[in-house]
């Protein structure tokens, strides 16, 4: 064997080991969600040869109210994403395309970004007290408001990057042809940034769907409980029903993994708030 072929073999071997490390724990949770109680406790662990059953999924979604928690998660994610997209895209356009007073655009942009850099634990105490004062504890509205605030800086930075990539001549040409500024934005620019807008929307949905700390603190009743809170509430109990938990976990992660795969091209950019254009 040549040393070149050997090097390639070693590369493949190392990569396969890394992939195994990444996926085996997730696979284990999936098997637990499909195993009967007896199979779950078996030693040596049953990796493949068990009798799959959907009992835990039925239990989670028909006996318990995981379907309802999932609906709450979906409602909160979609509304907060929509709000953040509308407000953030307009602001991004304003920052990207106009000459503002002196360095206002730069300073405003950095300030907007900095609000995203706060550790959430810093704002959670005041936000909890504010929501309590406004009578919004245990409501879907409180989560929609907080997540819109989370996602806004993200939308502004992502969309500003996408607008910057389009030459200014595009809407200037449309405006010469008699279009208004907002008409040009709607008819010329937005169609061109649609892929970026879609990727940004998917990131917002993922962030809202996954969020745990604020949902845990702001909502503790069934009416406004999101999926992560429902799962966490059952993990920290004394008797843990592992099958139900795992089934809920599988259901919580599936849309996220599918979505994230769909925006792979924009992943680096989204995760670094546009700092690295991968």
């Amino acid at each position: 064997m040549t040393s070149r072929a050997l090097a390639k073999l070693i590369r493949y071997a190392l990569l396969l080991i890394a992939v195994a490390f990444a996926l085996v724990p997730v696979y284990w949770m999936i098997t637990i969600s499909l195993k009967s109680e007896a199979d779950q406790l078996a030693v040596p662990p049953l990796w493949i040869n068990f009798n799959p059953t959907l009992a835990h999924y039925e239990d989670a979604f028909f006996t318990r109210s995981f379907g309802g928690y999932m609906a709450t998660s979906a409602i909160v994610s979609v509304i907060s994403t929509a709000c953040a997209l509308v407000l953030g895209t307009l602001a991004a356009y304003g920052l990207a395309r106009f000459k503002l007073y002196r360095a206002t655009a730069r300073h405003l942009g950095l300030w907007i970004l900095s609000t995203r850099m706060f550790p959430p634990i810093v704002t959670i105490v005041p936000l909890y007290l504010m929501m309590r004062d406004w009578g919004l504890l245990n409501t879907v509205a409180s989560l929609v408001i907080v997540y819109t605030g989370f996602n806004l800086p993200f939308v502004v930075w992502m969309m500003r990057g996408f607008f910057d990539e389009l030459p200014r001549e595009m809407e200037e040409a449309a405006m010469v042809d008699g279009d208004t500024r907002m008409g040009a934005l709607r008819r010329v620019i937005l169609p061109l940034v649609t892929p970026g807008l879609a990727a940004t929307a998917v990131f917002c949905l993922i962030i809202s769907w996954n969020e745990f700390l604020f949902a845990w603190v702001l909502t503790q009743t069934d009416e406004a409980m999101t999926l992560p809170v429902a799962i966490a509430g059952r993990v920290t109990q004394y008797k843990i029903e592992w099958g139900v938990m795992s089934a809920a976990g599988v259901v919580a992660m599936t849309p996220i993994v599918v979505f994230a795969m769909a925006v792979q091209r924009y992943l680096v950019r989204g995760l670094s708030l546009g700092a690295v254009k991968g």
Binding site: V26, W28, L108, L129, S246, L271
Partner: protein, 301 residues
């Protein structure tokens, strides 16, 4: 050039109409209003709360004075630093290694890349569930496998053992977030042009020399951004630890975020929790400021 297009070029130079002057501010105003309500106002609120105490009325420095002598706070700070520095180092080295493995062309590269990214995409709560299932001492996959291999697993209770708990939660962080380092560093590697490599090859440089003198310096901006973003996240870590151990056993895995949470929402001492959160905010800002200075120093050079 046709007469029409030169005419439109000319008309492009006309001054912006007055109503356009107000437009950008109108576009930005709603976003600014929302962010002021949800981040500036809460900060001011938190300042006010941090100077109040549960036991006395009026203003007090008591919450800040208490910080210096609070053993729990100092140990939470210590755990946060150990957690952040160990996880950051391991994630960086593993992520860099994986990025280098996948940088050159290889059949199935995009599949490897996608599969390696899975842990990072999972909801943090699900990561907690996954690893409770792995670590569980009755039926966990790790101990089950070790038992089968004849290892005595009685002492290996992972997150339930005071000695192993912190290492265990760090391992989970490494599992989830190494893909992030890998992804950003791979993007950085692929943005490096071919020419410097070709020049190094002509000079007869060894792999290590090329890596040390070509790759690393050119990768520096990506490295700094990856480290900056990870550091911010590591200093605020909450979700996975909360699900895995709730800060226990005892206080073995209690980080600053968990201690703030406990103070605010278990003991309802909002003033003290706010005071601690300012310390965390200042620390985070100082560290990110340092990284940004490093980034700018290179860009200026």
């Amino acid at each position: 050039m046709t007469a029409q297009s030169s005419a439109s070029l000319f008309r492009n130079r006309r001054p912006t109409p007055r109503r356009d002057k107000a437009l950008p501010y109108l576009l930005i105003a709603p976003t600014v209003a929302v962010l002021v309500t949800l981040s500036i106002y809460p900060l001011i609120y938190a300042v006010r709360v941090s100077f109040q105490s549960n036991s006395a009325s009026g203003w007090t420095f008591g919450n800040f004075a208490r910080l210096a002598s609070d053993q729990f706070f100092l140990s939470a700070l210590g755990h946060t630093f150990v957690y952040a520095s160990v996880a950051l180092t391991v994630e960086f080295l593993l992520g860099l290694g994986l990025a280098l493995l996948l940088d050159r062309s290889l059949r199935g590269r995009s599949i490897f890349r996608a599969l390696l990214l899975v842990p990072m995409m999972l909801p943090p709560v699900v990561v907690g569930v996954v690893w409770r299932l792995m670590f569980n001492s009755d039926f966990g996959a790790i101990n089950g496998t070790l038992k089968t291999a004849g290892v005595n697993t009685e002492a290996l209770t992972w997150t339930a053992s005071p000695e192993l708990a912190l290492a265990s939660v760090i391992a989970v962080d490494v599992w989830q977030w190494t893909p992030f380092m890998f992804l950003v560093l791979l993007a950085g590697l692929q943005a490096i042009p071919q020419e410097p490599y070709e020049a190094a090859m002509v000079d007869g440089s060894s792999w290590w020399q090329t890596f040390r003198h070509v790759t690393l310096p050119l990768l520096r901006p990506a490295i700094l951004i990856a480290l900056l973003l990870r550091t911010m996240d590591l200093l605020r870590v909450f979700d996975q630890i909360f699900i895995l151990t709730e800060g226990g056993p005892g206080f073995a895995t209690e980080t600053v975020s968990l201690y703030i949470y406990r103070t605010a929402f278990r003991f309802f001492d909002f003033g003290y929790a706010s005071a601690m959160s300012f310390v965390l905010l200042i620390l985070t800002n100082l560290i990110s400021f340092g990284y940004i200075k490093l980034l700018e120093s290179r860009e200026a050079a």
